[in-house]
């Protein structure tokens, strides 16, 4: 559905995106993670034919970006939520959505039905005729997301869909996105909210000008952190640590307070052997657990360095 091939964009000699290679399948929810200035917004702008690429190319549903005949076709089949909602504040939610649906060439009766459907999903139907200026930030963001979906696009690009929202508003937006995800569209999300991406996205890419890693959140966690078993002892001694280090399946062994942390490939099989060996050496095992790594850990490792 979306494929980028060595996509590059420079601004006055500064590289924003460099040799970006991504592939997003139809119906997939794909997250793009990266720090500020990583080129995420630039990538969306190129994919939606808002700006030209410096080199490389990309395809959206088979149409090549920024190609004279293909650009209008791409704009017809994509929906975009930019960083700012950018609504017409003096107009009502209904008027805002109707204007955009009209630009996409939807017939009046279809526009009305679709707007009603979306506003009801958002619980904003009763306030449809009020000026958007009277809405809360979260409500505005929901209208902006609804605008991206109003013409039933095949692909939707969402740039920071929950940025700047309070937790309750962010939750509402996430629930709305989950409902829209069920409609089976291809959704491309830029976000700083790792937790949100982990919950919403089938696959993610961590990028900093170029793609540093691509995969599902679980795959990336395993790929970059493996799995770590934590064993807390009542009587941690150097001999116990040395014993664990001597085991051939223990990949990386370190201590933290009264705990031994061991990276393992196959904890389900190895944990019993590990506990047995420690007990035999006189260690008093208090508990055994697995250290859960999150997408944030992967992100920090790839982009911001290790935290622990």
């Amino acid at each position: 559905m979306i494929e980028t091939i060595d996509l590059c964009r420079k601004f006055n000699g500064n590289t924003a995106v460099e040799n970006l290679n991504l592939k997003v399948e139809k119906g997939e929810v794909f997250g793009l993670l990266g720090p500020n200035g990583a080129g995420k917004t630039t990538t969306i702008r190129m994919l939606t034919c808002l700006i030209q690429q410096t080199s490389g190319t990309a395809y959206v549903n088979g149409f090549e970006i920024n190609k004279e005949n293909d650009s209008p076709r791409i704009r017809e089949i994509v929906g975009v939520l930019p960083e700012s909602p950018g609504l017409y504040e003096s107009l009502s939610a209904q008027r805002n959505l109707d204007f955009f649906a009209n630009l996409y060439g939807m017939a009046k009766d279809k526009r009305s039905a679709r707007i009603e459907e979306l506003l009801k999903m958002l619980n904003l139907w009763d306030r449809r005729e009020e000026p958007v200026a009277t809405y809360s930030k979260g409500m505005k963001q929901k209208i902006a997301i609804a605008r991206a979906f109003v013409h039933n696009p095949q692909v939707v690009f969402l740039d920071e869909p929950t940025a700047g929202l309070d937790p309750a508003a962010a939750l509402t937006v996430r629930e709305f996105l989950i409902a829209l995800k069920k409609e089976g569209r291809t959704i491309f999300i830029n976000s700083h909210h790792l937790d949100e991406v982990e919950r919403l996205c089938d696959r993610i890419a961590v990028m900093n000008q170029t793609a540093l890693a691509v995969g599902s959140p679980k795959e990336l966690t395993r790929r970059y952190w493996g799995r770590t078993t934590v064993i807390e002892l009542a009587n941690l001694e150097p001999a116990h640590v040395n014993l664990v280090r001597g085991l051939d399946f223990a990949l990386n062994v370190r201590t933290e307070d009264q705990k031994i942390l061991v990276d393992l490939d196959d904890p389900e099989t190895r944990n019993p052997i590990l506990v047995q060996a420690l007990s035999k050496a006189g260690a008093k095992v208090e508990y055994v657990t697995e250290l859960r790594r999150t997408l944030e850990d992967v992100y920090m490792k790839l982009v911001g360095g290790e935290r622990r």
Partner: protein
């Protein structure tokens, strides 16, 4: 170009204008002042000048004899109608004299229409398009047309009124276009709009069309009201309706749209460089300068204030519009708006 999309943008902008009190005040208040208050203020001097000579004249003509295409001299005419007559050394009382030449005569209580006189004593007459060829003594008469002093004053007043009228299509776009382009940029609503299938040209045309429509409706409405006001106020004094004349019609239907278009497109260019609606309005105000210069030169006599200079100036404005359209199209494209616009 997709006209549905252009219409959608224009309608959306018009809906936004209606909700913006600053725009509505400008659209309603400015034309109202210019078309109602200004004609009253500027036409009063014409009334005053006309009324200076009009108090004593009440004519009741009873035309009993008609003379035409003659040369007559050393005669006395009473209640006669003279058309295309060369009159010399005559006394004319209560006569209707038209398209004639009067030399060294005395005319009293008559109407002199479209005629010239020299060396003549004219008392208590109505003078319509009267040509004073010299050495006349005119007492207690009312000039109706043909009075150079009155006509000069009228021209000045009408020119000033026309300047004010043409300022409407220059000024309204500085407000509406500022909100339409800079406002949209500040509000960050351009990006979602640019992500739709609308082309850059369709967007520019749609936005310009709404501003043009609002500005020209206000201008033409003011034109109609101004003409009515001037005619109502001056007809009792002048005896005819002075407006609309060709000069005003060219001003309204050529110069005004040309200036309006220029103002809109100039604001597009400004929008690419400023981030504040008020700054945009202030810079947009610069466009009034060429207009003021043209009228200033016309009034001061540096340029003749006739129809041809008006046509030439309108043509220059349209030529400049073509240049600004070209520049605007270069500035108003997705890449420029998102990457280069401040």
């Amino acid at each position: 170009m997709n006209t549905d999309r252009i219409a959608a943008v224009a309608k959306k902008d018009l809906a936004e204008f209606r909700k913006n009190k600053y725009i509505m005040i400008t659209i309603v208040f400015m034309p109202l002042v210019i078309s109602v208050i200004m004609p009253t203020v500027y036409v009063l001097p014409i009334n005053a000048l006309g009324s200076q000579n009009s108090d004593t004249v009440t004519l009741h003509l009873d035309l009993t004899s008609t003379y035409s295409d003659l040369t007559i001299s050393d005669s006395v005419f009473y209640n006669a109608s003279l058309q295309r007559v060369n009159i010399s050394n005559c006394i004319l009382l209560g006569c209707m004299i038209s398209n004639s030449t009067i030399v060294s005569s005395r005319v009293n209580g008559s109407v002199i229409d479209n005629s010239s006189a020299s060396g003549t004593l004219v008392t208590d007459c109505n003078l319509i398009n009267f040509v004073d060829s010299g050495e006349n003594t005119v007492i207690g008469s009312q000039y109706i047309g043909g009075n150079e002093e009155l006509e000069d004053l009228m021209n000045i007043m009408f020119n000033i009124l026309l300047i004010l009228l043409v300022m409407i299509p220059v000024t309204i776009p500085t407000v509406t276009a500022s909100y339409s382009f800079v406002g949209e940029k500040v509000n960050k609503s351009l990006e979602p709009l640019l992500a739709t299938p609308i082309s850059d040209l369709e967007l520019l045309v749609g936005k310009s069309a709404s501003i043009f429509a609002v500005s020209m409706i206000a201008t033409l409405g003011s034109f109609v009201v101004s003409v009515l006001m001037v005619d109502i106020l001056t007809e009792p004094v002048l005896g005819y309706y002075p407006l609309p004349n060709v000069y005003w019609i060219i001003g309204m239907f050529a110069l005004a749209p040309g200036m309006c278009l220029m103002s809109i497109l100039f604001n597009v260019l400004i929008s690419s460089r400023v981030n504040d609606v008020r700054v945009s309005q202030q810079i947009g105000g610069i466009l009034v300068l060429p207009l003021l210069l043209f009228f200033f030169f016309s009034l001061s006599g540096f340029l003749s204030s006739g129809i041809l200079p008006m046509i030439a100036f309108s043509a220059i404005i349209f030529a400049a519009d073509a240049g600004i359209i070209w520049l605007s199209l270069r500035v108003f494209n997705r890449e420029e708006i998102l990457v280069s616009w401040k």
